[in-house]
Amino acid sequence: MPGTPLSTLHPGEIATIVAIHAEEALHLRLLALGFRSGKRVELIRKANFSGPLQVRIGTTDVMLRRSEAAKITVCKA
């Protein structure tokens, strides 16, 4: 199944991370927060006016900007 960027998910959708194409600082931060390929993420909500996303990974809720979420490729479950 082809991958889509995490930023295109709709609230309530669950997907599996396929790849992370981020620069080193962001990559390390995402790794530390539990973002790894094969992990399941749920998009909880999107803020208005192209604001940030709230994503649940494991037991942690994380907010990230759409530009950053675009660097994470996921595959819808």
């Binding site: 600082a25 390390l28 995402l30 530390a32």
Partner: protein, 595 residues
């Protein structure tokens, strides 16, 4: 003295635990190898004095954020005898990577799995004995908030201190890069010792978030909460501030003045109007700072601050700031000083500096006093509210313009990925400790600077001794006359220029100084101003007062928070330049239009 370092990820309750350990008796200090200050406290542990250091929360020992570098450099140059690693038990599945990174450093480690009470609620069960066995490190389940398991853990820490860390492995970095090994080991420990339910129960946090982060209700609720906080701080704070001020005036009149009456006039003037007034200026800030940090601790510890960041980020990202910066900017409308101190929640230095550059444009309550007096004297009761409202608009405009102009210069290069922790009830103890610490910090850092500034202005307005204080013959008067060519194009006369020099110390004394300069008080002063100035001049003066340097206390805070004299000078220079430009454009524009 032996040293214990507290290590852990953000949102693990590390600072709460630090406060519990040190009983709030902490101080900030410098350490070799790093440029930021760290909190530390000395306590008696097993008959010996031990120093405990609270390191910044980090996600990754080999990350490159400012905080991660600080921790790495600290550990490199100040190997602690024991590292107390604090992990959030509810997020154990991802926090263990940090623990395993630390394990490879060959450090003497005791692990505290904090928030055990919350983990239990989520149905996460952790077998600490099994985990101790697998990791070969002492591991304890505790609740820093309620103190469960704390005594036992401290006993083990005391024992562990007898066998201090042998030294730091030199191949630290190369070892740390063995991510794959860490992942495999994580999986092994998780599989054997931890069970997490597949779907977390629909928690209170989720229900609250559905309202607090609602697409349309979220922002109104946010502004409502901010408004309440703001009102709360000033509803309680202003009477306290006035009370402190009145007490100090009373003390001066009933005790100090009679006591010093034998001294020469210039000396008692210097002591009372210079030094004592300087101390009083500082003291007046104390109640506001205590309240601000009590309320901020509530907003931060409850988990709402990161929600505010979520709500405001769409706008703030375009200004090069983040949502937390907006909260501080709003708080600055009460008082700039605690708002500047509050920027510490931002971990990226560039973004923090940009926020500190912007906050001084917030129209604080002290400036409001000046504007209320002048608008009442020069504008009709119908026009006065509009004039005040327009000044608020200018305040926002100056902040937005500044952040747009300088966001390229203070480029934030840290990824903006923020945890949204579950909502928690902050404990009163946490809040009180926070308030106490911040006041201590402010007093330590600001007092000397502010007193020196007040004395300097007193000297300027009282020398030479033959001149009438604050008159045109004093040094301040001469500076006023000297600066006149610069201020005349703004419609600001010499007397008002002297008042602006006073305003450098604190906006609260601008009206008082005008009373001294004109030799008139209250309504008579208002009448004199109305007689001498037209509304264009008065508005130009108010614009300048709004935009230029807020006050000495804010400058002292800027300097101590940024630890950079150059940056502080830049903030002052930029605000003066912008104030001049704004007043000039307004005054000349209005005159050109025939007003």
């Amino acid at each position: 003295m032996k040293r214990i370092a507290l290590l852990g990820m953000p949102n693990t309750g590390k600072s709460t635990l630090f406060n519990r350990m040190t009983g709030g008796a902490a101080r900030v200090g410098n350490w070799p190898g790093i440029t930021v200050e760290l909190l530390s406290g000395k306590i008696l542990l097993g008959g010996d004095m031990v120093e405990i250091i609270d390191l910044p929360g980090i996600y990754d020992l080999h990350g490159f954020s400012d905080d991660e570098q600080v921790v790495r450099h600290f550990l490199h140059d100040n190997v602690p005898d024991l590292a107390l690693v604090i992990l959030n038990a509810t997020q154990i599945e991802r926090q263990m990577s940090l623990l395993l990174q630390l394990k490879q450093l060959d450090m003497n480690v005791v692990v505290l799995l904090n928030m055990a009470d919350e983990a239990k609620k989520y149905g996460i069960s952790i077998d600490s004995k099994k985990m101790t066995e697998l990791l070969d490190m002492p591991i304890f389940l505790i609740s820093g908030k309620y103190g469960t398991g704390y005594a036992e853990a401290m006993q083990v820490a005391t024992k562990a201190l007898r066998y201090p860390t042998p030294g730091m492995a030199e191949q630290l970095r190369s070892q740390l890069e063995q991510d794959e090994h860490i992942e495999a080991e994580m999986a092994r420990v998780m599989k054997h010792a931890v069970q997490i339910p597949a779907q977390l129960p629909d928690s209170l946090t989720e229900k609250l978030d559905r309202v607090m982060l609602h697409p349309w209700l979220g922002l109104p609720i946010f502004f409502g909460i901010m408004y309440l906080l703001f009102q709360g701080i000033f509803f309680i704070g202003q009477p306290l501030q006035i009370g402190v001020g009145d007490t100090l005036v009373w003390l001066r009149g009933s005790a100090l003045e009679p006591m010093l009456s034998g001294l020469p006039v210039w000396l008692s003037g210097l002591l009372l109007d210079g030094i004592y007034n300087g101390v009083a200026t500082v003291a007046a800030f104390v109640p506001i700072i205590i309240l601000f940090f009590l309320f901020m601790a509530m907003v931060e510890d409850s988990g709402y601050l990161s929600r505010a960041a979520f709500l405001m980020d769409a706008l703030m990202a375009r200004l090069g700031l983040d949502g937390r910066g907006f909260v501080m900017l709003l708080m600055g409308f009460g008082c700039n000083v605690p708002a500047l101190m509050g920027t510490r929640v931002m971990r990226s230095r560039a973004m923090r500096l940009l926020t500190m550059l912007v906050i001084p444009f917030s129209l604080c309550s002290a400036r409001l006093q000046v504007f209320v007096f002048i608008t009442a004297a020069l504008f009709s009761p119908q026009a006065a509210p509009l004039v005040l409202f327009s000044l608020y608009l200018f305040s926002f405009a100056a902040a937005i313009l500044t952040s747009i102009l300088f966001k390229g210069k203070f480029k934030n290069n840290e990824p903006f990925v923020l945890e949204l922790p579950p909502y928690r009830f902050p404990t009163g103890r946490q809040m009180v400790m926070r308030g106490r610490l911040e006041v201590k910090h402010f007093l330590n850092r600001a007092t000397k600077f502010i007193v020196a500034g007040v004395v300097l202005v007193w000297l300027l307005t009282n020398l030479p001794s033959s001149a009438v204080p604050a008159s045109a013959d004093t040094l301040a008067g001469m500076i006023g006359a000297f600066l006149n060519p610069l201020f005349a194009p703004l419609g600001i006369n010499e007397q008002l220029t002297i008042a602006l020099i006073f305003g450098f110390v604190a906006k609260e004394i601008v009206i008082g100084s005008l009373a001294v300069i004109y030799g008139l008080g209250g309504e008579a002063l208002g009448g004199a101003l109305a007689h001498q100035l037209d509304w264009v001049q008065a508005y130009s003066f108010m614009l300048f007062t709004l935009i230029y340097t807020p006050c000495l206390s804010a400058i002292a805070t800027l300097r101590s928070e940024s630890k950079n004299l150059g940056f502080t000078a830049f903030v002052i220079a930029w605000s003066l330049a912008l104030a001049w430009l704004a007043s000039f454009t307004f005054y000349q524009g209005a005159r050109a239009l025939g007003f």
